[in-house]
Structures are given as C-alpha cells and as structure tokens.
C-alpha cells in the first residue's frame, strides 16, 4: 500500500527517491504487530540507505518533525509516510487498553470506549450540546463522504437512525463511532525556494502547533479539548491569525467520535463554547456553508486511519486548496485548517494551517 501511495506522491511532485533528503514515518509498534516498526519502513519509500526515522505518534507530528528538519536548513525536501491496516489487527480493543495505565485503569477491564462515553457525557453537560446535534455530525459527514472517491463509509442516514443505533457507552451509540479503514498516505514537503521551483500550486504551511495534555484519566479536563486549544494557539500565532472564524475557509477536524467534531471546533475557537451544536444543526458546517467542516467525510465517512488520520486531514485540505476536490470542492478555499487527535485514551493532537496564497 505504501509503495503505491509513495509512487503516486513522487509522480504528483515530479520527483524521484534520490531527490528526497529525509524520510519520516508515523506508526506505533502495537498497531503494526511488529516491534521496532521503524525497521520495515525504508524499502517501500525508496529510502534504502537514506536518513529515515519514525515518529511514534500522529502523522501530523511526523509531518511537523519533517517540517522542522527543513526549517533547520539541513534538508530541503522530506517525505512523510503513514498508513493504517486496522483490518489486520484482530484484537484492537485489547491493544488500545494497553495504552492505559497498568496500575490504575487496565485492571478495571472495561472496553476503552468508556473513555469516550465519559468525555461525551461531560461535554454535553458543560456545553448544553445535545445527542441530536452530535447525530447531525454523523449525518453530515457520512453524506459528504459520498462525494469522496477515497471514502469507504459514505451513506445517507437520518438523525433518528444514529440516535437509535445500539448504545455502546452512554451517551455514545455505535453510529457515533468512526469505523476503521485501511489506507496509506504519503506527503512530500519542500523548502520555500524548492517548492516554488517544483510546483505551480504549492500549499504553504502557515502555522503548526501540537500539544499533549495529561495521559492520566484521573487528572485530565473532561469537557474541553485543552490539547487542541493550546495547539491551535501555537499554530494561529505562527500563521498570524487573530480571528480564526473569519480567516479560515475550511477545516478538517477529528470526528473520531461524533461529539469530538463539535468539541474540537470550540477548542479551535472557530465558534464559541456551546455554539458548535447549533452550527451543525443549522447546516452552517456543510460544504457550501459558512465554514465547511470535514468536507471529505471526516473519520466518520472516510474511516478512522489510526495514527494516519492526521495525514488524511492534511491531504484533504491540500486537495481543497488546490481546487482538486471534485464534487466536494469548497468554493474559494484560500486558507484551511487540519486538526488531529490521537484517539482514546490520549489527549494529544496537532493543528496545521495551510494556504494557497
């Protein structure tokens, strides 16, 4: 899969492996089923006997690392690779549980979705958002996915169907949860001068931010996505953005669970606390709405790609800004935001601001 994705990326950029100065992967040992998963990375990228490393984290963190290396001046062009093969993991819930504290949390032997249930409950309580509004996120995103040829979970649903789906961990029902997909995404970054020489329409990284809040369940803030607030502040500052609501044209945010889209939008200051639910209800977040959110279909429509999800979001924003998003094109897209979250049980996420100016 990675060979396919990388070959396409090379072709798209008009480059060959020898033109790349450094390679960065994103992935975790336990989701690969292989310890020191960095070992199996170089060949399919054309990176044999080249500088390569693996970020055990979100694809956006890998991308940010590559960007930093370019900013040092030592490298000019870097390739970032990520993928998910959730279909090969037979015991994913058991693996997720291993990311929880072995002394305090694992012995409770609960399916890890309880964490999302707890957070959703608190979020609804603190913001007054309703389950119905969360269900609207599911409806919107799965419908958007019907326009996305890479998306595997597009479908026309009604709000009622989402609300009636089996309860997993109240108030989280099964349709509130993103399904998984397999996929590989390769992104090539270049320093400014090289980018201009290589490409008619380079998509610029205007701002980057990332943050990890407490990994401990006992010590985290349950209602708000503080990690996203801090990451966004960092990214906005770098991009010189003071009024995100006005200056951002589209956003791909993590909707791993339906309520997360709303919680993240508020943390990104793209709306006020408690307002996101109303916006989705009013249709303001649709592809031709005030602020297009998850035009790709998001995780709910495309499928969650584990740690590669962040790369899918960057890919969508880049396609949108290039005007290559086909039937789901957001009109006049100039500045886009991509936000990722590593999923339960983490409180880690990143924000990238991209533009075509």
């Amino acid at each position: 899969m990675l060979y396919e994705a990388a070959s396409k990326a090379y072709q798209n950029a008009g480059l060959e492996p020898k033109d790349i100065d450094g390679f960065v992967n994103a992935g975790e040992d336990w989701t690969e089923g292989h310890s020191i998963a960095d070992e199996i990375t170089p060949d399919q990228l054309g990176a044999v006997k080249r500088p390569v490393f693996t970020v055990n984290g979100d694809a956006m963190q890998a991308l940010i690392s590559a960007a930093m290396h370019i900013l040092t001046g030592q490298m000019n062009i870097c390739l970032v690779a990520s993928y998910s093969k959730a279909s090969n993991i037979k015991s994913l819930a058991n693996i997720t549980v291993m990311a929880m504290d072995p002394v305090f949390n694992r012995p409770l032997e609960e399916n890890p979705y309880f964490i999302a249930g707890l957070e959703m409950n608190r979020y609804l309580y603190e913001t007054g958002t309703t389950r119905e509004q969360c269900a609207q996120v599911v409806v919107k995103n799965k419908k958007n996915a019907l326009w996305n040829p890479s998306a595997g979970h597009g479908i026309s649903l009604s709000k009622e169907q989402v609300l009636d789906s089996p309860m997993i961990s109240y108030p989280l029902s099964s349709l509130d949860i993103s399904p998984h997909s397999d996929g590989a995404i390769v992104i090539i970054l270049a320093a400014a001068e090289r980018a201009k020489a290589l490409c008619q329409k380079p998509i610029w990284i205007e701002g980057m931010g990332w943050c990890s809040d407490s990994p401990s369940l006992e010590k985290r803030a349950w209602g708000e996505a503080v990690y996203t607030q801090i990451a966004a502040e960092m990214a906005y500052k770098m991009a010189g953005i003071s009024y995100p609501r006005k200056e951002i044209d589209l956003a791909e945010v993590s909707d791993e669970f339906s309520y997360k889209e709303l919680q993240h939008l508020e943390a990104l200051k793209l709306c006020r606390k408690g307002e996101a639910g109303f916006l989705v209800e009013e249709g303001a977040l649709g592809i031709s709405g005030e602020l297009a959110v998850n035009p790709s279909g998001g995780c709910l429509g495309v499928g969650s790609l584990l740690d590669a999800t962040g790369a899918q979001k960057v890919l969508e924003v880049a396609l949108q800004l290039r005007g290559e998003a086909g039937q789901r094109q957001v009109p006049n897209a100039g500045v886009g935001l991509a936000q990722s979250w590593r999923g339960i049980p983490t409180t880690s996420g990143a924000v990238l601001i991209l533009s075509n100016r």
Binding site: F23, E28, D29, W30, G33, H34, S35, I36, A37, D38, E39, T41, P42, D43, A47, V48, K49, R50, P51, V52, F53, T54, V55, N56, G57, Q61, I64, S65, A67, M68, H69, L71, T72, G73, Q74, I95, T96, M98, A99, D101, P102, V103, M208, G209, W210, C211, S212, D213, S214, P215, S216, V226, Y227, I230, A231, M234, R342, P345, T346, S348
Partner: protein, 387 residues
C-alpha cells in the same frame, strides 16, 4: 550555512539497573528533573519536549510516549516521541536539535527511557517480535541468532580473533568502575572474557551488554539562551542518521555502511574533513564487544581492519590518543536501550566540560562524537558535539 546554533546545556540520568520500585514514568521524571536542575531551569522554561524509547513491548505499553509524556515534563506542551530501535538515544538529541535549530523553540528537553525488566520471562523475548512475522518468527529466533552472524563475518573479513575483540569488554568494564550509574563495571582480563560461556558462537557471555532499566535526559537551548544559562555551552555541531534496507540477508553484514553514511552526513554539517584528527573522544555504540571496533571503522575513526590493533596499543584508553567509551559504554554501564545511547551523548557533554570526575580524559578535548545503532542492524545515528 546560516544554521541556528544549538547547545546542550544540561544533562541527567538514573542508575542503569533493574528498578522494581519505580514506574517508567518515575524514571523519566528522575532523569528529566536532574537535567533541568543541572542547568537551573524550571519546567516553565521548557518550550517543547521530545522523548525517545525503543520498544513498547518491554514494559507492555502501547503508545508508550503518551504514558511517559507527563513524567518527561510534556504536560500541556508540544510533545513528540520517536523510535529508531537501538539508535534511538542518539536520535533523541537530533530530534531535539530539530526543534531548536528550526527556530520554533528556544529550550527543548530531550529524554530517552527504557524499562525492560517488566517483560516476562525475559526482555529478550520481546525481541521475537522485531523479526518478520511470516518468514522469520515461526523459526523461534532470538537476537543471539542474528547479531553473532554479523560478528562472524566481521572478524573473518578483518582477521580478528576473539581475544582482539574481548579487549573492548576489558576496557569498557574497567572505565565503568568510575561511573555512578554503572551496573556492570568490573576488572577483567581478556582470558576472563574469552573463557566465559558461549551464548551464541562466536559471542561469549562477557561480550554482551546487560539489559537494564533507566532514563537519560539532556537540555538543548538556542545560542542566545544557552549563553545566558552557562559559560560552557556544548554545541551540537553535526547530526546524521541513516537507515538501510529491511532485507538484512541481502546486506553486507560485515560492514555497516549506514553508519558511515550517517557519519558523513554529520561530518559535512560540522565541517570535519579528517575525523581521525578532529574528533578527540568517541562514544560509539557497544552492545557487543565487536560492535565498538566495527562502528569505529565505519565512523572513519579507524582504518578498516586496524581498530583492533589500535585498541591493543591502548590508543582508545582514557589516557590514549583518542579515548573511546570513557563512560564504560553499554558493556560497562548497562543497556536500557534508548537511555543508553543518550547516556553516550551526555558523557561527551560532561567530558568536554571537564565534569566527568574520575572518568575525565586528560588534554581538554574539544570535539566529541556519539553514535548509536539500531533496528534490524540497519540504523545509524551520529551526533558531534563541540565546546
């Protein structure tokens, strides 16, 4: 080149030994706190945190980086974890360097941690999962089935005998007697090493470093901040890293070309043209005795086929022309994978500042190199420090 200068301004580490009373998070805290204290910085002075840890399976964690993040000072800060197997610890310094040299951060805390003891029945067992799931694991293999094959070819290619290579253990374990964190420091003779039981011929028990738990941390700062904090900043002059193919059976196992490429990348950045003259002290990766010699040759710090002779002539002793592993290395201090490699960076840091106590090499060394090796014998990472 116009690159932003970055310095190591502080370092700290835990003992390298089985720690049954501390969690990995607590080990991380111990090392990180010590590093910050050593340069009188507080957590609020740290802009970003980087953690390196080689293998999640040792202590049964998935997303080990997340778990370690708050112990490493990464609470509500930009935090990223990386892994390149055994080469991680030195790469940790490189990843931290990227943070500061990019201009995005002024102070970056770098931590490398490994807790191997929780893996039952033995941490070695976790290594089963580093091999190909389909073509190799069914054969039930162990790390000692693979690395000794490298040693076999290496010794034949260079005409080295077991005694030649055993001297590395003698030197390093002796050096380690002067290291406060060391687990395996002792006085040995070449015969002791050669007579120790054969684990996997040609490797004897005393040819191998021991697994341990531990953490090491360093603090990196931009030029402006470094000069405010200390009058002895140690500059990160060169960084390099390289990864060879996954298909190890098609590689030349006798010569780690990826270490040479990583070294050249670092030498180029540091403007070093004659490494054998310009590098004053070296901490190459020594998980097995032969590795120290093989790495020295690949690092271009000794001509191919000559390292054993130089070792025998005491050139690599602490008071020799080019001290190698004055810390005691992995063989002497212990091998909690990621932490061990960063320990080498910390050692060069202390040596260049004249703060290595009884281990101090004489002659005011100015430039030092730390190198690590990892993944399926395919990754090389190199850092060059200069005071």
């Amino acid at each position: 080149m116009g690159m932003r200068k970055v310095a190591v301004v502080g370092a700290g580490m835990t003992r390298f030994v089985r720690r049954a009373l501390e969690t990995p998070k607590e080990l991380a805290y111990e090392a990180a706190k010590m590093a910050l204290d050593s340069c009188e910085l507080k957590l609020k002075d740290v802009d970003g945190v980087v953690v390196g840890s080689a293998v999640d399976a040792f202590d049964g964690f998935h997303m080990k980086g997340e778990y370690l993040s708050d112990g490493a000072g990464g609470w509500r800060k930009p935090f990223i974890r990386h892994s390149v197997g055994g080469a991680t610890g030195v790469f940790s310094c490189i990843h931290g360097w990227m943070h500061v040299a990019s201009g995005l951060f002024d102070v970056c805390l770098v931590l490398a941690e490994e807790k191997m003891s929780p893996c039952q029945p033995h941490p070695q067992g976790a290594f089963l999962t580093v091999y190909d799931a389909i073509l190799e694991r069914p054969l039930g293999l162990n790390l000692t089935w693979i690395v000794p094959q490298e040693m076999n070819l290496y010794m034949i290619r260079n005409g080295y005998r077991s005694e030649d290579v055993a001297r590395v253990a003698v030197k390093n374990k002796r050096n380690a007697l002067d290291h406060p964190a060391a687990m395996m420091g002792e006085e040995l003779t070449v015969q002791d090493v050669v007579n120790s039981e054969v684990i996997s011929w040609p490797v004897h028990r005393l040819d191998i470093s021991g697994t341990a738990d531990g953490a090491t941390a360093v603090v990196l700062a931009s030029e402006e901040v470094a000069k405010r904090i200390t009058n002895k900043p140690v500059w990160v002059d060169g960084v390099g890293y390289n990864l060879d193919t996954w298909y190890w059976t098609s590689r030349d196992l006798a010569y780690p070309v990826y270490v040479e490429k990583a070294a050249r990348m670092a030498y180029e950045m540091a403007g070093i043209k004659e490494p054998q003259k310009e590098i004053h002290i070296a901490e190459p990766y020594d998980p097995f005795t032969f590795k120290e010699l093989q790495n020295l040759e690949a690092l271009l710090l000794a001509d191919q086929g000559k390292a054993a002779q130089l070792l025998a002539e005491r050139v690599f002793d602490r008071d020799g022309r080019m001290p190698v592993c004055p810390s005691g290395g992995l063989l002497g201090v212990g091998n909690p994978i990621a932490a061990a490699a960063l320990m080498k960076v910390a050692e060069v840091f202390w040596q260049l500042r004249g703060e290595a106590g009884k281990r101090q090499v004489p002659g005011n060394p100015k430039t030092g190199l730390a190198q690590a090796w990892g993944d399926m014998m395919q990754a090389g990472t190199v850092v060059i420090l200069k005071i």
